[in-house]
């Protein structure tokens, strides 16, 4: 099949990839862009393990054709770290609270939680629960994930108000 040239930004980096037009964004990220952090748990949009942010919106990468991301800016779990030796507050909080067990759902949940906290760093418990309603975790019972998101949100809000004051 004729390949299509896909040009997009992934985690801030411009990428040009020759791909078959029927491939999902998930498969292209994992197999062509070499970013295997995003996971395939169902490939039909039910589990949320493949959640990435496309132009500011969280999407299930398995349900999006890669060609639909032409010219888009995509963020995956590999792009969460603010710097090479620095972790995002969510990554820190997930480690601290034990919010990641097998870790297979973690990349998708981190991305969804980042989107949630970017909109609102101090979500209510109900908003956190609702925000994660499309992400399946089978190991943790979610309790520690909720704790980690609350902690990260508080720290992000504090950092933000500090930088505003400064």
């Amino acid at each position: 099949m004729t390949k299509t040239l896909l040009e997009l930004t992934v985690n801030g980096e411009d990428r040009s990839l020759a791909i078959e037009p029927y491939r999902s964004l998930l498969d292209v990220l994992r197999e062509e862009a070499g970013l295997t952090g995003t996971k395939k748990g169902c490939d039909v949009g039910d589990c949320g393990a493949c959640t990435v942010i496309v132009d500011g919106q969280p999407v299930n990468a398995c349900l999006m054709l890669a060609v639909e991301a032409q010219g888009a800016s995509v963020q995956t779990v590999e792009g969460l770290q603010p710097g090479p030796d620095e972790l995002h507050p969510l990554q820190d909080a997930f480690m601290e609270h034990g919010a990641s067990q097998c870790g297979f759902c973690t990349p998708g949940i981190l991305i969804m939680a980042k989107h949630l906290l970017d909109q609102n760093p101090l979500p209510t418990d109900e908003e956190i629960r609702f925000g994660l309603s499309g992400n399946i975790c089978r190991c943790t019972g979610y309790t520690k994930i909720f704790d980690a998101i609350r902690t990260a949100g508080r720290r992000m809000a504090a950092a933000k108000s500090q930088s505003v004051e400064a």
Partner: protein
């Protein structure tokens, strides 16, 4: 050692594997993309029971991009185990890689390797199979009918997987004669599936010397090695099994799966690496579920609540192959000797084949079923006798010196401690006295219930277990622990590193863990039976103790002191009474007068019997009498784990187990159409699990009430326990709310509405 003496054990140190999980760097089996990789797919039967008359693969083979097609004509004809526990006496060899017979809808009948997944998928449709249908046996009643069609030629006959398990203690008839109250009931349970987030996946790669390298998501890498070597007729050192991060397993990833053999065979034939990855649907169809069951239970009680007799018959539905049925039947049946002490018991356990998907190992291993029934009937007895349900359990709780299901005496009074603590933390008396109504919504009825359990760490006596660990002291004083235990997400590797650091006297940060390579790490039985911390943790502690002696002996030489006068803490060796005189481990390991020191390696091998962990779960539910929906609102799980190594990881096990248990009890059931054998809900939307919106508040309490001398500093398992206690706790709470008893799971909204209607009609 008292709690204050621990420097590392008992602290929630940073899990070593989690940094890779939060950055996306962690490699799972599906993340390996080798050059020249082919993709394998399995052709699955669309019939429940049939003989293959003819299979034509010519069109598939001719399809561009297809590299190989395998049918039963092309694979070694070796009868193998689904569950090849190498140290077990009870396994059932009843499976071929491919056969000219189909025993369940969805069984693999052929396999394809092609240059892409899409081409492999398309090629499956080009394989033509002609079936001679056979009468299908689709439930346990049909399977046990005299003259029922036999699904296997092997086994004791009558569609039994193994001869019935029979356990008898005391005099059951005399026990019933003494009873003031006799209760009898039939209990049933559906087919929950583990639904790990990472679908089964493997990659096979052969080198020029004829050695197979095999990445697979398994809890039991050495069993995979053994089975592949046997079936492929290779020495075990020509099979290297690798497993890095795993996306969950919950027991089910300790079977040997058809796709694992087929992947290796396709790669050998194509002389290229092959990857086989289940679709989510395949994890249902070709994965493993808990055993559906039916159990008849009769128990006798005195007026004061004490048990006089227990008579039980349980039938587990094994599905098309034996898999873990021997173990599940033995463990589940034996579990009914205990939990609530009873002097006279008669237990009969069976597993029967049906033409349905395979039931295997799943967290709670046969015990979920028996304790669901026993704990509901205890609740009924308390109600009938006018005894508080919590006091009823305290009265009958198994305790120190009682004989455990393994045949050993119980250590400590862990179950009583859990119940007592829960009564207080949950405010059980206050809850019992409160009204059942909800002022905010007149349709809601609230209720409170208790469920208890005990579960063994290790699979003894079914399997004579062996744990191994190797600990190496490197020249710079850093430490490497080698373990074969799989890291399926529990944090076990971190717990093992904590144990080594504590025992050895070095910092936690100085210990790194090497795992997941059968060519490198010591032999391991696999990560299952809630035993990694107990079994491998003990072996690691032994190895660390040995290494410590040798490090101190070396340091003593250097310091011209006697080793007994030396202490080692955080990697620094000090001399008793001589505060100035110290030596770091690195200095002790370094060259002496220019001569390199001998490298220090220590091994630990541990062969345990078994310890038992205990739990009591206190639950609040709200039942909507208009919709029938049961909401689990609050859980206070109290667990005795003997000694907690990593509190957050232990809590994580408990809370995750509760999540799965709530699902099993209320919404999860993988449904097989009982007229065709076809599955009806093999997907994550139709198979409904509790998600973020459904989880109750959980206030986890961990006790160190009954440390077991068999585990490191008394530590016992925790992985399986939570999923066992939560089910009966919910069923009992539902009864407390609406006065209707359910003897099955899942308890659906339809069941609730029917139950309420029936109650009204009977009133």
């Amino acid at each position: 050692m008292t709690k204050q003496d621990f420097r590392i054990v008992g602290k929630s140190v940073k899990r070593q594997d989690v940094i890779e999980k939060v950055t996306g760097e962690g490699r799972y089996t599906g993340d390996y993309h080798l050059p020249g990789l082919l993709h394998g797919k399995i052709k699955r039967a669309e019939i429940a029971h049939a003989r293959i008359k003819h299979i034509d693969v010519s069109k598939a083979l001719a399809y561009p991009g297809v590299k190989a097609v395998l049918t039963h004509h092309d694979v070694p004809k070796v009868l193998h185990y689904g569950s090849p526990h190498p140290r077990s006496a009870s396994c059932t060899k009843d499976q071929y890689i491919l056969e000219d017979k189909v025993r369940f809808w969805g069984e693999g009948v052929a396999a394809v390797a092609a240059v892409s997944e899409e081409i492999a998928d398309e090629a499956l449709d080009l394989i033509e199979v002609e079936y001679e249908p056979l009468p299908a046996v689709l439930d346990i009643d049909a399977a046990q009918q005299p003259g029922a069609p036999l699904i296997h030629d092997v086994g004791p006959g009558g569609n039994l997987v193994i001869p019935p398990v029979h356990i008898e203690r005391g005099d059951v008839e005399a026990g019933f004669a003494e009873a003031d109250l006799i209760l009898e009931g039939v209990f049933e349970g559906g087919r929950p599936v583990p639904t790990y987030m990472e679908p089964n996946v493997c990659v096979a790669d052969w080198d020029g010397s004829g050695k197979l390298t095999f990445w697979t998501s398994t809890q039991t890498s050495f069993m995979v090695r053994g089975a592949l070597a046997e079936v492929l007729d290779l020495p075990q050192n020509k099979v290297r099994v690798l497993v890095d991060h795993m996306g969950g397993g919950f027991g089910a990833k300790q079977d040997l799966f058809q796709h694992e053999f087929l992947c290796a065979l396709l790669a050998r034939q194509c002389r290229r690496p092959v990857k086989m990855e289940f679709t989510r649907k395949e994890t249902f169809i070709a994965g493993r579920s808990r055993h559906p069951f039916r159990m008849w239970l009769k128990q006798g009680f005195r007026k004061d609540g004490t048990l006089t007799a227990r008579d039980m018959k349980i039938v587990y539905e094994s599905g098309a192959y034996g898999s873990h049925s021997p173990g599940v039947t033995n463990v589940g049946t034996a579990s009914a000797t205990s939990l609530y002490r009873c002097p006279n018991v008669r237990l009969d356990g069976r597993a029967v084949y049906t033409n349905t998907p395979i039931a295997g190992a799943y967290r709670g291993y046969g015990v979920v079923q028996t304790y669901f029934a026993i704990d509901i009937q205890i609740d009924e007895a308390a109600e009938r006798l006018g005894i508080d349900p919590a006091q009823m359990r305290l009265l009958n709780a198994v305790r120190e010196g009682d004989i455990a299901p393994s045949g050993h005496p119980i250590v400590g009074r862990g179950l009583e401690a859990c119940i007592s603590r829960g009564i207080e933390a949950f405010d059980w008396p206050g809850k019992r006295a409160a009204g059942r109504g909800d002022p905010a919504n007149p349709a809601i009825r609230k209720g409170w219930g208790i469920g208890c359990e005990m579960h063994g760490s290790s699979a003894y006596p079914g399997i004579r277990e062996q744990g191994n660990a190797t600990v190496k002291m490197n020249e710079d004083g850093s430490v490497t622990l080698l373990t074969g235990a799989a890291g399926l997400g529990t944090g076990a590797h971190t717990a093992l590193a904590q144990i080594v650091a504590e025992e050895l006297g070095v910092t936690f940060e100085s210990v790194s863990v090497v795992h997941g390579d059968t060519d490198v790490v010591p032999w391991d039985i696999g990560a299952f039976a809630s035993h990694t911390t107990y079994l491998v943790g003990s072996a690691a502690k032994m190895a660390a103790a040995d290494l410590r002696q040798r490090v101190l002996a070396r340091a003593a030489e250097r310091l011209q002191e006697s080793p007994e006068h030396l202490a080692m803490v955080d990697g620094v060796i000090t001399v008793q009474g001589k505060p100035g005189q110290t030596l770091t481990v690195a200095e002790a390991m370094g060259p002496s007068r220019g001569i390199p020191a001998e490298h220090l390696i220590a091994n630990g091998t541990y062969m345990p019997t078994k310890s038992y962990s205990f739990a009591a779960h206190f639950v609040e539910v709200a039942v909507d009498t208009e919709t029938g929906i049961i909401e689990c609102r609050k859980v206070v799980p109290v667990h005795d784990v003997g000694r907690v190594i990593h509190p957050i990881a232990a809590q994580g096990q408990i809370e995750g187990g509760i999540q799965q248990g709530i699902g099993h009890t209320l919404t999860e059931d993988y449904i097989i159409d009982r007229s065709t054998g076809r599955s009806l809900n093999a997907g994550l939307v139709d198979y409904k699990m509790p998600l973020s919106m459904d989880m109750p508040d959980i206030d986890t309490i961990i006790l160190e009430a009954a440390p077991d001398p068999g585990g490191p500093w008394g530590a016992k398992g925790v992985g399986e326990d939570p999923i066992i206690a939560i089910g009966p706790a919910i069923a009992n709470a539902v009864h407390d709310a609406i006065g209707v008893r359910f003897h099955h799971y899942p308890i659906t909204p339809e069941d609730v509405l029917n139950g309420l209607r029936q109650k009204q009609e009977n009133a």
